[in-house]
């Protein structure tokens, strides 16, 4: 994935739509995102809601334009208020300034003070009247039309987006919505239409959430069995996978709890079928014993942890990168395994697929650390790439006279049979064992098997995908997972301001690549570790392995608010 982006992000527009329960703010955002894709642009949409399950206020926040978008901006150009009940709660999430514009219908009442602090402009629009003029008309669709026009989207793209999004609801819904959309469009003008249509026709665009992408990565990696227990914000991975696994001849089983789900995928994988589960912090905690069993019995499994605010039940609907510690260190005993983190919505596909391949090939457990801000955001992107190496399980289909399941091989990986293969019978065990798998408490067996399990991971050649590295210069941002988007953009801005900057975004967090990282850091005088948690988990992890220069600093800030490029830029500028 070469870095072919320009440094100029000025062609991107940021808009937010808010409204109380039932006002259709999120639907309008979804349609807008589809329209962005129809226009051949790129885009990102995140959403936010109050604590209510239904009927609470909600907000859709989008950023889009002719270049790939991997994070929200520091500020918003446009805020569309469908109504203002409780909208004040979004004031932290939707920063406005004097250059921002609020669009609203005067009938929606007064804009909350909290949103007006930095003096944005307000423009009143007769949406209510326009909606009422259409039978079954809805204000959100009128507002969407105006918004679309304001950002320079062609009406055709908006119409196509609307039809795709609302298709399932039938013409009773679609037709009046289209009417409203057009009326709203006619109310619009184009203050933010700096973006231009792609030259040479519309390129292929995907619209998907990070959770969808993780599901795709699982399928591409060969996963054909999933067992899981619902949990926010991971459930959509399962929802996306359930019907599709079936279409591919696999299956998804809703388990009674996470203890069951992790052990179920261990069973399926023992049966020869690549298997995965998805969860979030509380569920991951419950899976730690199972993960240890997968490591000790050398049964490949993948757990996708879509992180949310922690600790404990924490803040289920908000992002935080707080589970790195548990993912890396949370198994009892010495239990080497894999930890990976996707770097963008689209990268959820690549990273999950790679995780499946690595787990299968290295016969171990892999944890993929996605988070709410990737999983539940939707993006318009180019199609997701795949890892170059096709990694699969080393199978033994013709075992010899005396098959040794845990044979001490040169690279530590022992060819694996599976039920059905005659002569390959063995008992997988979480007790320490001999090469054959027989329980043993002998020091020699323990040392040999511990070393085998360490070596097969440490000595493997992971290639280039361990990190995304962009830019150069003697200042370096080191980051991981979802924070990469904001870090990359902060670096672009720094560069644009004449300050060269390097970004290393780690995709592989365990085992860490000592030599590759040292190479990537060569020549950097200042290192700043950027992440979204309280304690600086990556910072400590890298220090633990003495992989950071002693002067490296950290910028660790917990959720629930996203890390924004400007915030990171500020830290960089403050480095001297």
């Amino acid at each position: 994935m070469p870095d072919d982006r320009t440094a100029a992000r000025s062609a991107l527009v940021s808009v937010a739509i808010t409204g109380s329960g039932g006002s259709g703010a999120v639907t309008a955002g979804m349609i807008l995102l589809e329209a962005v894709g129809q226009a051949g642009w790129y885009g990102l949409m995140t959403r936010s809601a109050g604590p209510q399950i239904r009927g609470g206020e909600s907000a859709a926040m989008l950023r889009f334009g002719p270049e790939p978008v991997d994070c929200l901006d520091d500020r918003f150009d446009l805020l569309v208020g469908l109504d203002w009940r409780n909208a004040a709660r979004f004031s932290d999430e939707i920063p406005l300034d004097a250059a921002s514009l609020i669009l609203t219908d005067p009938g929606a009442g007064a804009v909350p003070e909290a949103l007006l602090r930095e003096g944005p402009q307000i423009r009143a629009l007769p949406w209510k009247a326009a909606a009422e003029a259409v039978s079954q008309g809805r204000l959100n669709m009128v507002a969407l039309g105006t918004l679309g026009a304001s950002v320079g989207l062609p009406l055709a793209a908006l119409e196509a987006g609307l039809k795709r999004t609302l298709a399932a609801k039938g013409p009773e819904t679609v037709d009046p919505a289209l009417h409203c959309l057009r009326r709203g469009f006619d109310l619009g003008w184009a203050p933010f239409a700096t973006t231009s249509a792609p030259v040479g026709g519309v390129p292929e665009r995907w619209v998907l959430s990070g959770n969808d992408a993780a599901g795709l990565g699982a399928l591409r990696g060969g996963v054909r069995f999933v067992a899981a227990y619902p949990i926010t914000p991971a459930t959509e991975i399962l929802e996306w996978l359930a019907p599709r696994l079936e279409q591919l001849g696999g299956s998804l089983l809703q388990a009674e709890d996470e203890l069951a789900s992790v052990n179920m995928i261990i069973g399926a994988s023992f049966g020869g079928v690549p298997a995965l589960t998805a969860t979030s912090g509380p569920g991951l905690s419950l899976m730690m014993e199972g993960l240890g069993l997968a490591v000790a019995s050398e049964t490949p499994i993948v757990v996708v942890d879509v992180m949310r605010g922690g600790p404990s039940t924490g803040i289920p609907t908000k992002p935080e990168q707080g589970d790195l510690d548990i993912a890396v260190y949370g198994l009892h005993g010495d239990a080497p395994h894999l930890v990976l983190a996707p770097l963008s919505v689209r990268d959820c596909a690549f990273t999950t697929q790679w995780a499946v391949g690595l787990a299968e090939h290295l016969q171990t457990a892999a944890i993929v650390l996605s988070d709410q801000s990737l999983g539940q955001s939707r993006a318009v992107t180019a199609p997701a790439p795949e890892p170059t190496a096709h990694l699969t399980r080393l199978r033994q289909t013709k075992p010899g006279e005396r098959y040794l399941r845990y044979a001490l091989t040169e690279y530590g990986v022992s060819p694996m049979t599976e039920p059905g293969i005659a002569g390959g019978m063995y008992t997988a065990d979480g007790l320490e064992h001999t090469e054959r798998g027989t329980p043993s408490s002998a020091a020699a067996d323990h040392l040999a098997q511990l070393e085998k399990r360490r070596m097969k991971l440490d000595d493997f050649d992971y290639g280039d995908a361990w990190a995304e590295i962009r830019g150069d210069g003697d200042t370096c941002l080191l980051t991981w997972g979802s924070t990469a988007g904001a870090a990359f953009e902060a670096a672009e801005r720094a560069r644009a301001a004449g300050r060269p900057l390097r970004v290393i975004a780690l995709r592989l967090l365990a085992p860490l690549r000592r030599r590759a990282l040292a190479r990537a850091l060569e020549g950097s005088r200042r290192v700043l570790v950027v992440e979204q948690n309280q304690s600086g988990q990556l910072f400590h992890l890298l220090n633990a392995h003495r992989m950071l220069p002693p002067t490296a600093g950290r910028f660790a800030r917990p959720g629930p608010l996203p890390l924004r490029p400007g915030e990171i830029l500020g830290r960089i500028l403050g480095l001297d």
Binding site: R205, W206, L216, G249, G271, A275, K398, P419, G420, M425
Partner: protein, 278 residues
């Protein structure tokens, strides 16, 4: 080269591995191992198509003593491992084995849901009314007044867990009780349990010589169940209600819907990817 194990029907002892059990002399679990090999031989199951899944406990050591596939997993999670295995590989014969602590204490939730799900698994619980492996604590099936564990010096004081009653309420479609001291009856029950399509639950009274030496008296206390196995749950409830816990035989069997994954290959990965495209 051992790529085909089955040119002739195998003898029971050919299902045994060469690993010596760690069990105490006289432990009931030996009889279960032996009955299981006899049942497998009787059913002429190819070794490589059988998988034995267990948890942790003396009883759960069983898989390694068989020359089939095996998984010696975590305490209490055997049914979950087996469920995943069976869902992924429905053609295998999957037998789950463990103890009363493993299955009814820490594993209770999986027991409930495995009964409900009614997958085609056979679950053998070697019940010795004690935690053998951890040296003699009360299990859910221990009598409330048994006071020989230092952890519960006045006895656990809690009514016994009734495995058959729970299995029935939860939805198991095959419930039986065997006894380690009745090897041929036990072999027959294991055969029936494996042959049954659905979740078969087989409780085996399997004395712990070391921590419950008084269980040698079970030989005198067991007796066959009266009458025919129940064929519906109302009858089954009545039988179980009348049960003194020492009656042996098939208690209940009923063909009930079996959960199995609905694999309907109908699309390629490329087609699925296409859906994501605008």
């Amino acid at each position: 080269m051992a790529t085909e194990t089955r040119t002739h029907a195998l003898k029971a002892k050919e299902y045994k591995s060469d690993i010596a059990p760690v069990w105490c002399p006289g432990c009931g679990h030996f009889a279960v191992l032996s009955a299981l090999t006899k049942a497998l031989a009787y059913l002429e199951l190819p070794k490589e198509r059988v998988a034995l899944v267990s948890g942790i406990g003396c009883s759960s050591r069983l898989p390694a003593y068989l020359d089939t596939y095996g998984f010696h997993g975590l305490h209490g999670r055997a049914l979950a491992v087996a469920t995943g295995l069976k869902a992924a590989r429905p053609e295998l014969t999957v037998v789950v084995a463990g103890g009363d602590g493993d299955g009814f204490s820490i594993g209770g939730n999986h027991f409930l849901h495995a009964c409900r799900r009614n997958m085609d698994l056979t679950y053998i619980v070697m019940d010795n009314e004690v935690y053998g492996m951890t040296k003699g604590q009360a299990s859910p099936t221990t009598a409330p007044e048994w006071s020989r564990s230092k952890l519960t010096p006045h006895g656990p004081g809690v009514r016994r867990f009734r495995p058959a009653a729970i299995a029935l309420a939860a939805g198991a479609s095959f419930i039986a009780r065997g006894f380690a001291g009745d090897p041929s009856g036990l072999t027959r029950l294991i055969v029936q349990a494996i042959e049954h399509r659905g979740f078969s639950f087989l409780q085996v009274l399997s004395p712990c010589q070391t921590f419950r030496p008084e269980q040698t008296e079970w030989k005198q206390q067991v007796h066959p169940f009266d009458g025919e196995p129940a064929a519906n749950d109302l009858e089954a409830a009545a039988r179980i209600h009348a049960d003194d816990g020492m009656a042996l035989g098939l208690i209940y069997v009923e063909p009930l819907p079996v959960w199995q994954p609905l694999a309907q290959p109908s699309a390629s990965l490329a087609e699925i990817e296409q859906e994501l495209s605008l």
